[in-house]
């Protein structure tokens, strides 16, 4: 009879290098963003983010597609067909819905499942957790606020009579596209996370976020239209604030009834600051 013993217990100690705080923060960002977009989850979780992302790309793809198919029918100057400054207004509602769907998914499950306590007890500080979640909200939002315009810009370059000349003349538009997209993403990320941090129930967070954006916007519109010299009531149109800030970065003439660009930017800043304070308050605690 042959006797033998199995000595490999399929478990090894790891004594190699360990990564630091930045890697942990990136891990939190990466996994959170992927989960929010439905990656490694069922098709039901994927379908809405994917549909909304495609919808945000739709205007740019349609214009570029038509230009490719019917070059003679569309003016060479594609920028006049779909100006960069108008894009935020056209897909603003899509971005809003995208933010409403994605940002609660970043925080609510952690609180609902008790994973938040595990993270803080074992692996990551509260500050790192919040930073990771803000980045995780920003990355998907930049996908719908910056990338469609970047594609439109690239199309404009390709279809321009003199591509290099177009780039030289429109270098400032690259900065505007990045700044406008980042401004919108920051706003929707902070406000969405602040509202999501108030509850562990995703449905409540989505409802609260929608109510926060839409109700004041309707009220602001009614008041500004019905009260004499009430134009500044438009500033409480929280759904419109990031769009106005994005548009203010382009050299377009604003509606005479609108508050000044400075007022919109101040409103944008104030809402982001309040949202950041809410996050700090909700995740305050001993940082040791």
């Amino acid at each position: 009879m042959i006797e033998g013993k199995v000595h490999d217990v399929r478990f090894h100690r790891y004594d190699g290098p360990r990564s630091g705080r930045a890697a942990a923060l990136w891990s939190m960002t990466r996994w959170s963003a992927l989960r929010a977009l439905g990656a490694r989850r069922g098709w039901k979780a994927k379908i809405i983010p994917i549909a909304l992302t495609l919808t945000a790309f739709f205007p740019a793809l349609v214009v570029l597609g038509l230009r490719a198919l019917f070059p003679s029918s569309i003016n060479d100057n594609l920028e006049s067909v779909l100006p960069y400054s108008d894009y935020a207004g056209i897909v603003g509602l899509v971005i809003l819905v995208f933010a409403v769907v994605v940002t609660p998914e970043l925080l609510c499950p952690d609180r609902r499942d008790g994973t938040l306590a595990l993270y803080f007890a074992t692996a990551i500080s509260r500050t790192d957790y919040v930073l990771g979640k803000v980045l995780a909200a920003l990355l998907p939002l930049l996908l719908v606020t910056v990338v469609p315009l970047a594609i439109l810009y690239a199309g404009n370059v390709l279809f321009a009579t003199h591509p290099l000349g177009y780039v030289q003349e429109h270098t400032h538009d690259i900065v505007r596209i990045l700044a406008a997209g980042t401004a919108m993403a920051l706003y929707f990320a902070f406000v969405g996370l602040a509202i999501a941090s108030l509850t562990g129930r995703r449905a409540f967070a989505i409802g609260g976020y929608l109510a926060f954006l839409i109700v004041p916007t309707i009220v602001g519109g009614i008041l500004s239209n019905n009260i004499e010299h009430g134009d500044n009531f438009r500033l409480i149109a929280f759904a419109a604030v990031p769009i106005h800030v994005a548009e203010s970065l382009y050299p377009v003439t604003p509606d005479v009834r609108d508050p000044s660009n400075t007022a919109w930017v101040m409103s944008w800043l104030a809402l982001i600051a309040v949202s950041a304070l809410v996050l700090v308050w909700r995740f305050r605690g001993d940082e040791s």
């Binding site: 478990f11 100690r13 360990r18 942990a24 989850r41 979780a45 008790g114 007890a121 074992t122």
Partner: protein, 330 residues
């Protein structure tokens, strides 16, 4: 006994019987050193002057609900700041190096804390990365620890679909994925059915016995501690009521046995005496004395067979481990 070798920075396992409480030589570093640890929550004193040095590879924290077990564990992790005293973990001060301690240790909380919408594999990889493992290593180790806890086949299933026992095993896997020297388990058998509890206790014992991971486990169930640990600290109302190795906890003698039989007791006793043992009848049992446990066991077996007696109980005489620890608890 598992101690850390300062030169290599790695735990080493010695074959000696577990030592505890002050038996640490100058070159050894206790896993946990608590000195005068006191923590109050309002008018309630959760920990009251707790002092203990832990060098055992598997230590049980035993106590009734509210005895201070969880607070003691949270103090080790730096999650609660003591009002007085200090606790050092792997040589680090829990009050000032909590972040390093939390990344070094493994911790399995008492309550369910798993993301139900993630697969077991993804969650374990994520926890490994958060504790400093490079991504490739985290993926490899996730497979290893899920194999160790018996979830290799279910690694791609959502945690939502797991039974309570499988969730607890996933919870244990996240605690050891980063290869900690020490893992803290807070009531790991809570809520488990008998089969799940059996599996969990076997796993916990394997951590210190085979995988070289020191264990501190809390429980209010005496059997859990006896089956998985080498030493025990008994907490009562926030104080250390007793601290001892389990080998020392019993007062039972190896040279005396208590035997309960049915049948002709006098003939049984006479047969044992003929075999050279000292045997005497007591109220409800026979007390047997002999040179060693093996000799007594053989003689009792033969005497029972020859006198046609039914053997109902045979155990070392004197107070049992359970007797001793229950005495500490009450």
């Amino acid at each position: 006994m598992l101690r850390r070798d300062r030169r290599a920075g790695l735990p080493t396992v010695a074959a000696a019987s577990p030592a505890y409480h002050g038996a640490v030589s100058a070159t050894d570093q206790p896993l946990i050193e608590a000195a005068g640890l006191t923590k109050r929550f309002g008018g309630v004193t959760a920990l009251n002057d707790v002092t203990a040095d832990v060098t055992s590879p598997a230590l049980g924290l035993l106590g009734a609900n509210g005895a201070g077990k969880s607070t003691f564990m949270k103090a080790m992790l730096g999650l609660v700041k003591p009002d007085a005293g200090q606790v050092r973990v792997l040589g680090m001060d829990a009050a000032h190096q909590a972040r390093e301690i939390r990344r070094s240790l493994g911790y399995m909380p008492e309550n369910m804390c798993l993301p139900l919408g993630m697969t077991a594999r993804d969650f374990i990889v994520h926890m490994g990365e958060l504790r400093g493992l490079p991504r490739r290593i985290a993926v490899l180790r996730a497979s290893e620890v899920l194999f160790q806890v018996g979830l290799e086949e279910e690694r791609s299933r959502l945690i939502r679909t797991f039974s309570v026992g499988m969730r607890q095993r996933t919870n244990l896997a996240q605690a050891i994925v980063h290869s900690p020297s020490l893992v803290i388990l807070d009531e790991p058998t809570n809520g488990l059915d008998p089969a799940g509890r059996e599996e969990m206790l076997t796993l916990v014992r394997r951590l210190s016995a085979e995988l070289e991971i020191a264990v501190i486990m809390s429980s209010h169930v005496l059997e859990d501690i006896v089956r998985t640990c080498d030493a025990v600290v008994v907490l009562r109302e926030g104080r250390v009521a007793a601290s001892r190795t389990l080998a020392d906890a019993t007062g039972a003698s190896e040279r005396e046995a208590r035997v309960v039989i049915s049948g002709d007791t006098a003939a049984f006793v006479a047969r044992l005496q003929t075999a050279g043992l000292t045997a005497s009848m007591r109220d409800d049992h026979v007390l047997v004395s002999g040179p060693d446990a093996d000799t007594m066991l053989r003689a009792v077996r033969d005497a029972a067979a020859e006198t046609d007696a039914g053997l109902h109980e045979l155990r070392p005489a004197g107070p049992t481990l359970e007797d001793a620890l229950i005495g500490d608890l009450t």
